[in-house]
Amino acid sequence: MKIGVFIPELIRHLFRTPATVDYPFKKLEVPKSFRGSPYLQPELCIVCRACERDCPAEAIEINTVKEEEKIFSLVIYNDRCIHCAQCVDSCPTKAMQMDEKFEISNFNRHNLKMDWEFVRAAVKPKAENKS
């Protein structure tokens, strides 16, 4: 046991820049592969409903707007989303992607809803994702 064993470390840090960041004014960089919120690239979506089926939080909803014109709508409820990126993995055409936003808090949950209305794409699913 030694008395004051911590003092040298403390004094040393007195003259160093703090490790904390002045957050809302200075921000740290988000890594490249950060999982933010999901978004849809509607031109790629073939409406296979894999994302809707696999989403653990039931945050994705695909509705048929006009069956004959192949118009569908996809809603992402970001208030329910748990940012697991399973939809990105499930998507055979890479139509689902994650952005890098992390400050998405909002006073109203409805503002977090994102929806797209689009015509079903005719892209074929890539082979490597299928097997």
Binding site: D79, N108, R109, H110
Partner: protein, 157 residues
């Protein structure tokens, strides 16, 4: 110690008490005994083989019967004792005499499946609220929970 040794030991000591013994994977043994032989089997396991660590007690609702599995572990193996108890007479002896650490698991299983654990040292509710209605056992298959419609505070749909 290996799986075969344990199985042989079990066959030798418990003899006709064993209903079924399986070894589905390495270091995993499932031993099924009758409900009356449970205490004897646990005491054999503890005293002869030195299994003192009870990992947990799981219950499964199989419809007509309840299956209760005691997961024991030692430095080599995970040995699971399975008992089946009828749904209309769900009585289970307490093993707290032998394994004092079993108390929380027994209280949990008592609450969740509505089993009557005989001679349990402390039978108060553990997880469910004090005002939980009697006769509701959440983990039974016939207990269905209907999700209430989502209410978003302060928001209009």
């Amino acid at each position: 110690m290996n799986d075969q040794f344990l199985i042989d030991k079990a066959r030798e000591n418990l003899k006709e008490k064993i209903v079924e013994i399986t070894n589905p994977a390495r270091r995993r043994i499932f031993l099924e005994v009758g409900i009356d032989d449970l205490l004897a089997s646990v005491s054999w396991l503890k005293n002869d083989l030195g299994f003192t660590h009870l990992s947990t007690i799981s219950g499964v609702d199989l419809g007509e019967t309840f299956e209760v599995i005691y997961h024991f572990a030692n430095n080599y193996c995970c040995l699971n004792i399975r008992v089946k108890i009828p749904r209309d007479n769900p009585l289970l002896p307490s093993i707290c005499e032998l394994i004092p650490g079993a108390i929380l698991y027994e209280r949990e299983i008592k609450e969740m499946f509505g089993l009557t654990v005989q001679n349990i040292p402390d039978g108060r509710p553990l997880l469910l609220p004090d005002d939980w209605p009697a006769g509701n056992y959440p983990l039974r298959k016939d207990w269905k929970y209907e999700r209430p419609p989502e209410v978003i505070p302060g928001g209009e749909k």
